[in-house]
Symmetry: C2
Subunit: 329 residues, 2 copies
């Protein structure tokens, strides 16, 4: 049956979201999975791991001319992009090439929390430029946004017991931590993607994929209860978040993108969107036109927050961004 497999090409397969997607597709078995990888990244251990599982690596420079990109995309059914914040606009040429190559569906790099475009989150607005370009091309697309990852949602324990899987201290609670928000296990994103990209109902639609809706404070309380340890809370006011947003914006007004300038901004604008505005909830996603993955796939069994915390406490969880040291959220 190899000839009937859907050919999916992932752009950004070595990132956190990209690996989740690659693993989801490879484990599903119904896909032939390719990756565009720039020569400099071809030897990344994350990619070599995926290659062992069946990922086919095509070396390709994302900034290559359109014709070259189109040639490299020939025969691909679905493109899924999970490029980093700095590379969003590199998707413009890729989408044009995908149209020329007859790609049947283009999944641009969304994979963030729910937020309206137009000045709240710089990262969201970068993505909107790509979406608009796709729509002008009349290219079949699906936009997949996700809950906030469990993997950056749990707080540190003072004993240090779960530091092995903590990228950041994550001890902040915005506005008392009571704002409801959707959360997802990073590993489930790829599993959602395997369903969404072959589903005719999701053509030219946005889909919100999340596992549960809860609040940061409820997650802190759950970690305390399950660990038997006290969790430290650093309360952050709306005013503090807004000051960070203003500072982040003031430092990132110029292109080209510079990660050191934009990280503060991205982090602060996330807190503004899901922490202050309460954007990252299914009802708002529905208002904005998203389909709800829970309604599309009622049989999908997501990893529960409790299961993830249990893993974390038993020492078997996997940390994220392990190749970086900077504060992320």
């Amino acid at each position: 049956m190899a000839t009937t497999k859907t050919k999916v090409l992932i752009i950004g397969a070595s990132g956190e979201t990209g690996r989740s997607i690659a693993n989801g597709l490879l484990e599903d078995g119904g896909f032939e999975v390719y990756s565009f990888t720039r020569p400099a990244s071809a030897q990344k251990p994350q990619l070599l791991d995926l290659a062992k599982k069946g990922l086919i690596i095509r070396q390709c420079d994302l900034s290559a001319p359109e014709e070259e990109l189109a040639e490299a995309l020939r025969g691909i059914d679905v493109v899924v992009s999970s490029v980093g914040p700095a590379d969003q606009l590199s998707q413009l040429n890729i989408a044009t090439a995908a149209k020329a190559a007859g790609v049947k569906r283009f999944v641009p790099c969304a994979f963030i929390t729910v937020c309206a475009p137009g000045g709240i989150m710089w990262l969201r607005d970068e993505k909107e430029k790509v979406y608009n370009h796709i729509k002008q091309l009349k290219l079949t697309y699906t936009i997949i946004d996700v809950g906030w990852w469990y993997q950056i949602a749990t707080p540190r324990l003072t004993s240090g017991k779960i530091d092995y899987a903590m990228t950041v201290a994550n001890d902040e609670l915005v506005e008392g931590g009571k704002t409801p928000s959707a959360f997802v296990d990073l590993r489930d994103i790829g599993k959602y993607v395997t369903r969404i990209i072959v589903d005719p109902r999701t053509e030219n639609k946005m889909v919100f994929s999340y596992n549960t809706v809860t609040s940061p404070e409820d997650i802190f309380a759950m970690v305390e209860k399950m660990s038997g340890e006290k969790v430290e809370r650093k309360h952050v006011s709306k005013e503090t978040v807004m000051a960070r947003v203003e500072e982040g914006r003031a430092h990132s007004e110029t292109y080209p993108f510079d990660a050191s300038k934009f990280t503060l901004r991205i982090a602060a604008e996330y807190q503004l969107s899901w922490g202050i505005r309460g954007d990252n909830v299914p009802s708002y996603a529905k208002y904005l036109g998203y389909l709800d993955a829970k309604e599309l796939y009622p049989d999908f069994k997501p990893i529960t927050l409790e299961e993830y915390i249990q893993e974390l406490l038993s020492g078997t969880a996997t940390g994220i961004y392990t190749d970086r040291i900077s504060r992320i959220y």
Copy 2:
């Protein structure tokens, strides 16, 4: 039953689209119809005509502070905006005020042909800024776009017989005039609006309202056949349209809006969108997420193109933009 009437406030009631909407709502009988009118416009004959039919005029400056706008909107169920191209961004404050006043549905000024945002049509992109603001407010909205008006779609006859109702010569055919496009009778827009704004299916949706899909060349041929006269055709190439677009853009890069600079650009970009790109068709509207008014209201009896041309030839049609002299198409 007066107390159960839906209270609708129109912004821009004296314009072509605004009058169609006001007439539609007033003739329907199910609405209490208000208009925000700036003091300078209160004595416009178009408004006085509508007032005779029942329009209630509230003098209000659109640039008033938000609190004042909110006070003036108190008790209004639906706001429908049909402001001119230069006033699109005045809707930002009005939307904020509408949210504060508890307005149940906000219909921003769309009412143009179908086009994706992001650099094709300046006018479309101005509107997108307003839509994004509405979405950030989480205000219930409906976006209504429409076909190209019959009233500016028929060509001049060399006899001059229908000049009485012609604003422009409209003798141009872009790319042979073969690109399919949706058309509407200006008078039907208001009738569509009366249905759409009380329809729960259209909440937080875009709706495409049009009467028929045909091509400019087919309209020219229909006018020839029905009049027995020859119609002059001025063929315009893609290159000519693109040169106009470039010239229009070069002359309109600065704010504030200056009609004399933007009219060329708006006209050229319309030709680019519906004439070259073929954007203004139901299939593309559906791709972009629009509901189709024909599917929502299968019993709606629109004025046919043939009926309009018959009116035109019999001397009973009404011209548009009669208070202006510049070329509009």
